[in-house]
Symmetry: C2
Subunit: 359 residues, 2 copies
Amino acid sequence: MTTEREEQVLRRIDRARRRKARVRDERITLAHGAGGKATHTLIEAVFLEAFDNPLLAPLEDQAVCPAGGARLAFTTDSYVVSPLFFPGGDIGDLAVNGTVNDLAMCGARPLYLSAGFILEEGFPVADLTRVAGSMARAAGAAGVRIVTGDTKVVERGKADGVYVNTAGVGVVEHGFTLGAGRAEPGDAVLVSGPVGDHGTTVMLARGELGIESDLASDTAPLAEPVAALLAACGEGVRCLRDATRGGVATVLNEIARASDVAVVLDESAVPVRDEVRGAAELLGIDPLYIACEGRMVVVVDGARAESALAALRSQPSGERAAVVGRVVAEPASLVLVKTEFGGTRILDVLIGDPLPRIC
Amino acid sequence: MTTEREEQVLRRIDRARRRKARVRDERITLAHGAGGKATHTLIEAVFLEAFDNPLLAPLEDQAVCPAGGARLAFTTDSYVVSPLFFPGGDIGDLAVNGTVNDLAMCGARPLYLSAGFILEEGFPVADLTRVAGSMARAAGAAGVRIVTGDTKVVERGKADGVYVNTAGVGVVEHGFTLGAGRAEPGDAVLVSGPVGDHGTTVMLARGELGIESDLASDTAPLAEPVAALLAACGEGVRCLRDATRGGVATVLNEIARASDVAVVLDESAVPVRDEVRGAAELLGIDPLYIACEGRMVVVVDGARAESALAALRSQPSGERAAVVGRVVAEPASLVLVKTEFGGTRILDVLIGDPLPRIC
């Protein structure tokens, strides 16, 4: 697939990546929250180092833990999206769907959410009521209950209206383990719908680009599509990841590294709406790095690709699900893109933060 | 106990309290985060109204939920304490102990924590590493594992260094239910140690009072003292509450209201350190309203009061545990204090927020 010289370069990149993580910055930058390279380094160097334990170590979107005879899934996310309200959703349904989806990605049935609010002094109570209403509706739609919560208030200028944290608990009722480390050569890679809608919508809602558009966030719960996939393909499903911060590109890199395989992505097969493509061009960002909040990357046994596709397409808003790539053995831990013009390029993890506070 | 006229007044107060909660403010104030009256009204009018479900409705510090055949305890708290580092602790061990204690208060065995960080751009990585180290040590001491997490970054000026959210999961291995609604006339009320250390320490650490003191936060895990209590008194234990925001006074009011009983507190029996009493006098605050982060209020069958006291005193830093009051039938839903000068006064829930951002 590559010349000897290219292989040497790739091996060098690979070795560099496997070195012990160290944060070179003395201070936190926005890139540390972007979900890309800087976030990973921070998590590995600071949190994984301090909290070291085998349940955290896989660094999946959720931990699967034994408790009272059950297999629990447990996850958390804080939401700092700006603006709070945008076409297709708000910080409330984002906070519910995001955590529901992190539970669903290990095949768990989401059950319960917690809700923690950090409010800025002066925030309108009517806006908070609207956010709580969105959370309640999203929880109802996803079949989960918000059972516990917390409210803190900080002085004016010490937050930005409201920040929401949700944690979620679910039960894993199947006997197998999904994970970024389970991809094998021969597997197929799918996405469950058009990518980049959420990030682009939030960006446009800030009004800085001056573009009018009908685009709306794709924020949605993914537990039903996951149940359909598992029913159709069983253990043939290797790995599920919702493509949030860092987008599809970052998810594929995580899978390639964790499984020590290469992912070859067919760029022309990735569904991207025209509005997203247009805005991404203006912003100088590849749509593959733009966050979704209701789309997932699916890695499945190659022999099950058509069943998986049919299962995804049977779901509401799944009609544009597509097979977008395949897993091969080499060059291990890299993602290659076959471009629409017939070339090949390396798709790296996100560097920096082109779209801060998207979720 | 009271004259007819006093009884009329009390019944009127009581009726007023039972009215449907409504937030009169158009905007969030610091009082909404103080854990007192305004916090309760906000929670009831906005969150309970929106998220309405029987698991949330008791508004305990944790929800107890069925999951995969187990009885799970699930809780969350966000931490916005200022300053981040103070004598005896920092935001990190506070975030671990606070959530461990919310689990312990229903008699659950705490198992797993999540950790969500909202970082302000420019926050020193060294400080974050120090906070993570404190969290790891506190988790080790409490026998829990931090298994999942999240990191977000907001722009400079949109947070205050770092805010930490923890959620926690535990298992309830006993068959009974502890709760604020279980107090009965004849029960005894205990506190597990001197009250107000944490809130006073944080206040003094801000340097605004210009007082030097050796006082340190009481932040500590309470799972072991709870286990000792349950071993000593079994179902004789009615209710446990850690006396955080709003202090002992607010906890006792919650119990009096939920159980439709009166609590009579013997002020002279409540252990308060001299430094706390002194600072509270300067601040014009009753120490009964000052937050602790490692002390709990215990309501226990009156016949078990001595066993409960012995169990608490057998624990590290439990030597000043004390029986401080008793539960009587009337005047229902009020807390009365027998003052050190022989009088009686009503101890209401906290109004306003004399000590913002204490946890």
